[in-house]
């Protein structure tokens, strides 16, 4: 039996080596960020990746196809919807068979299991020689270095970057309701409380005879509610934040967190805010907009147009300059004078080259090339002089076809496909109401970046695996109970903090500190 196994192993080894030997020698010419990488003889690269658009046909994605014209590189892509992707990726990598050349690593291989197993090819050499666009990105987003480089110094990823520093999640208010009733647009959390109070007293503002109105309504996308905590200096999305001296502290046991929860509990108990935020789906929230029962909420800035349209079908936000429907407003100032929005981590998606890739240098050049300004912009807002062009005043004018996205025009072409490295960033567009663009310009000044993902030493990963799940379970459960009032945060605070510490709050803080240090 042993002999047989050994024989099989030997055979497999020979087969692998033979396949390496058979790989044609190819030469690659890639001379700068704006130039295409060109391969001496045609090769095919396999990509395993995920997208959220409902288009999985790589061949239809014109933006990418055009970018690759003349490079001699053909891409064979296996594309999955993000919600089905983790199973596929984890299984194939863990099994180590049917591996692609380039893989989108969902979950970033946080504890380095795939990398340590030798599944990913280090990119350092290639980056030095060909990392034209990578270099530019790292200059712009320096913290990302820790996310693409392991604790031992090997670069294993190229990123897809999300830069929502100028308008991510924000507060939005029912403009007409505020306007008609002379309610000031709130600028502080106290003013927000007063405004909600007035809304509550208005009662049946949609006039349907039911008490179905909620001044401040949140759905189960809990990060929206957490965003309000920024006014207390908290970033509950991560759960930890870093101060100006670079010291990390845990938000869940911060005294400011207690104040925040007390504030929310006040809103909930007075009926100013819904206390079933843990279960309200985005559907229910959308139904709420359609039924005109929501006075204010927090959501993606770009969604306010959608919500406005549900509130008043066919509303033309452009003609009212964005002052109508649900209007985005600036961050609120908290009790201690804190005023900020937290953006998402810029490092959103990781792309690695696998050990089965025969032409890792070509794969690297391709990935780097995808971060080229022109491609990044085309994928995000369409092709210049095709989907849009500048008019005499220098404004961008988009074609009807692109704007209306008929027959999924945008997606079919590969718009926002996220299947390869890229950049998601708001580019100002002609059809954006001025109220939004004004806001976008000011928001950037007080947007903070969260503690991003970064590879840390194994002892920290170990801590993360040991403590994180239980800690999260407890604090999230407690958050719900405190806000709903089923547990009294004032009375319980000390024991709550103590239990959090028993569940590893301090150990976890050290992990995030290590991440911050690794990003420097």
């Amino acid at each position: 039996m042993k002999k047989l196994v050994a024989l099989l192993l030997a055979f497999a080894l020979c087969a692998t080596m033979a396949s390496f030997a058979m790989a044609d020698e190819v030469e690659i010419v890639y001379t700068g960020e704006a130039n295409k990488p060109i391969v001496s003889s045609p090769i095919t690269l396999k990509i395993l990746s995920a997208t959220s658009n409902n288009v999985y046909d790589w061949d239809s994605m014109r933006y990418f196809r055009e970018a690759l014209e003349g490079t001699n590189i053909t891409i064979e892509a296996e594309l999955y919807h993000w919600s089905n992707y983790a199973d596929v990726m984890t299984t194939r990598l863990a099994a180590g068979v049917d591996m692609p050349d380039i893989v989108f690593v969902d979950g970033n291989d946080a504890d380095g299991a795939f990398y340590n197993a030798g599944l990913f090819v280090p990119m350092n050499e290639y980056a030095e020689e060909w990392g034209f666009n990578q270099k530019k990105f790292l200059e712009q987003y320096p913290t990302m270095k820790g996310a693409i480089t392991t604790a031992t110094g090997d670069q294993i990823f190229l990123p897809y970057v999300t830069d929502d520093s100028d308008l991510g999640r924000c507060l939005m208010i029912h403009y007409k309701l505020f306007e008609d009733n002379g309610i000031q647009i709130p600028t502080t959390t106290d003013e927000l409380y007063d405004a909600l109070k007035v809304l509550k007293e208005l009662g049946d503002w949609n006039g349907n005879g039911l008490a179905d109105e909620t001044p401040f309504l949140f759905c189960n996308d809990i990060y929206m509610l957490y965003q309000l905590g920024c006014a207390w200096g908290l970033n509950l999305e991560t759960g930890w934040h870093v101060n100006d001296e670079g010291i990390v502290s845990c938000d869940w046991i911060d005294p400011a967190y207690k104040d925040f929860v007390v504030y929310l509990n006040k809103l909930a108990s007075e009926g100013l805010m819904n206390d079933d935020f843990a279960t309200v789906t985005s559907d229910q929230q959308l139904a709420g907009f359609a039924a005109d029962i929501i006075g204010a909420t927090i959501s993606w800035g770009g969604c306010s147009a959608w919500f406005s349209d549900l509130l008043e079908p066919g509303i033309d936000l452009l003609s009212v300059g964005g002052r109508g429907g649900y209007m985005n407003i600036d961050a609120l100032e908290g009790p201690t004078g804190e005023k900020c929005f937290y953006s998402r981590d810029v490092f959103q998606r990781a792309f690695a080259i696998t050990r089965d890739c025969k032409y890792p240098e070509v794969a690297y050049c391709l990935l780097d090339y995808m971060l080229n300004d022109d491609i990044v912009r085309t994928v995000w807002i369409g092709k210049e002089n095709g989907d849009w062009s500048y008019d005499a005043d220098g404004n961008m004018v988009f074609t009807e076809q692109y704007i209306l996205n008929e027959d999924n025009y945008q997606w079919n072409n590969g718009a926002n496909a996220e299947v390869l490295p890229g950049l998601q960033k708001t580019f100002y567009r002609a059809e954006t109401p001025e109220a939004y663009t004004d806001l976008q310009k000011t928001v950037g000044d007080h947007t903070k970046r969260p503690i991003g993902f970064a590879f840390v030493a194994p002892e920290y990963t170990e801590k993360l695996n040991t403590y994180k799940a239980d800690f999260d379970t407890y604090v999230q459960e407690s958050f719900n109970a405190f806000v709903k009032g089923t547990r009294d945060v004032e009375a319980e605070w000390d024991s709550y903090v103590e239990y959090c510490k028993a569940l590893g709050a301090d150990e976890l803080t050290s992990v995030y500190q290590a991440r911050v240090d690794a990003s420097k």
Binding site: N53, E78, D87, V88, V97, A287, A291, W306, S308
Partner: protein, 293 residues
């Protein structure tokens, strides 16, 4: 007189109970379906604002338009039908052939084999070892990946086995005395006596293939091999992401609610159309029962 009354009462109560339960079951299962169909044909605004109860409000076909906008839709449907028919045929053959020996009291391997198959219901190697095997025997991106790894459902084999066990021993014994061999007994007696159960199992397997999603997701990465469920599932999940990009709202992006309901209608309708043909066999069973007696 007294007994007559009691009998009369009790049977009346029974009938009332039957009617009530049937009406209740009918209502709770039918209403959501009516609701689903109605929403799938209504405008998103109407669907969201809760105006739809029984009948489409502001009727539109936008949800269906979206679902059928993918030209590969027909391929997906074709694949599903292929996997359902071929898969079920293979399932039934293997299952019946396995269940019959397991039901024979004199079969020497009976005890061992019964345990052998029951054990697999509780212990399996897990997703990755199975993947290694499936891929190792060359089924990755092959139509057989939808058929062979799920060839026998132990659960169904157990049901089939107990149906065979229900055949009176005298019938089989008398056939043996007549000189019929096992194949012959199996083919011309046993199989015929369990038609209703076979109809049920066919339905179970067919529905299983019809709804199969997990293996397809794992083993089939080529669009031309993928079944409809994979497509519907993507459509469904896509509907959960709000668009956060375009300031201008498009009708299509508003269609998300209907799409979810459209997926249900598209899943149910074909099976609904086929069901009566299978159901026929449940009725046929009565006659077989009579023969049996």
């Amino acid at each position: 007189m007294k007994t007559f009354c009691r009998r009369f009462n009790s049977d009346i109560v029974f009938r009332i109970l039957v009617v009530t339960l049937a009406v209740l079951a009918f209502a709770v299962t039918l209403y959501p379906f009516i609701y689903v169909v109605a929403v799938s044909f209504s405008s998103a605004q109407a669907g969201y604002s809760g105006k739809v109860y029984l009948w489409p409000v502001e009727p539109t076909l936008i949800g269906y338009g979206e679902a059928f906008s993918d030209k590969a839709m027909l391929t997906y449907y074709g694949n599903t039908i292929y996997y359902t028919i071929v898969g079920t045929a293979f399932n039934m053959m293997a299952t019946v052939l396995l269940a019959y020996p397991l039901s024979r009291p004199t079969f020497s391997g009976r005890k061992f084999l019964n345990f052998f198959i029951a054990f697999t219901m509780y212990f399996g190697g897990g997703m990755i070892p199975v993947y290694l095997v499936v891929s190792g025997v060359g089924l990755f991106n092959s139509r057989w990946a939808m058929i062979l790894p799920t060839l026998v459902s132990t659960y169904n084999a157990m049901i089939c086995r107990s149906a065979f066990s229900g055949i009176p021993d005298e019938l089989i014994e008398s056939a043996q005395i007549d000189g019929a061999n096992e194949f012959r007994i199996f083919r011309s007696i046993a199989i015929r006596l369990i038609t209703p159960t076979l109809a049920v199992l066919t339905l179970y397997y067919a529905v299983g293939h019809w709804n199969e999603f997990f293996n397809a997701n794992l083993y089939l990465s080529k669009a031309e091999l993928q079944p409809m469920q994979l497509y519907l599932r993507r459509l469904l999940m896509q509907a959960f992401i709000p668009p956060n990009k375009n300031i201008k709202v498009e009708a299509q992006e508003m269609a998300t609610l209907q799409i979810r309901y459209v997926t249900i209608v598209l899943t149910i309708l074909p099976i609904l159309a086929v069901y009566p043909f299978i159901q026929k066999y449940f009725v046929k069973g009565i006659m077989l029962g009579a023969v049996k007696g």
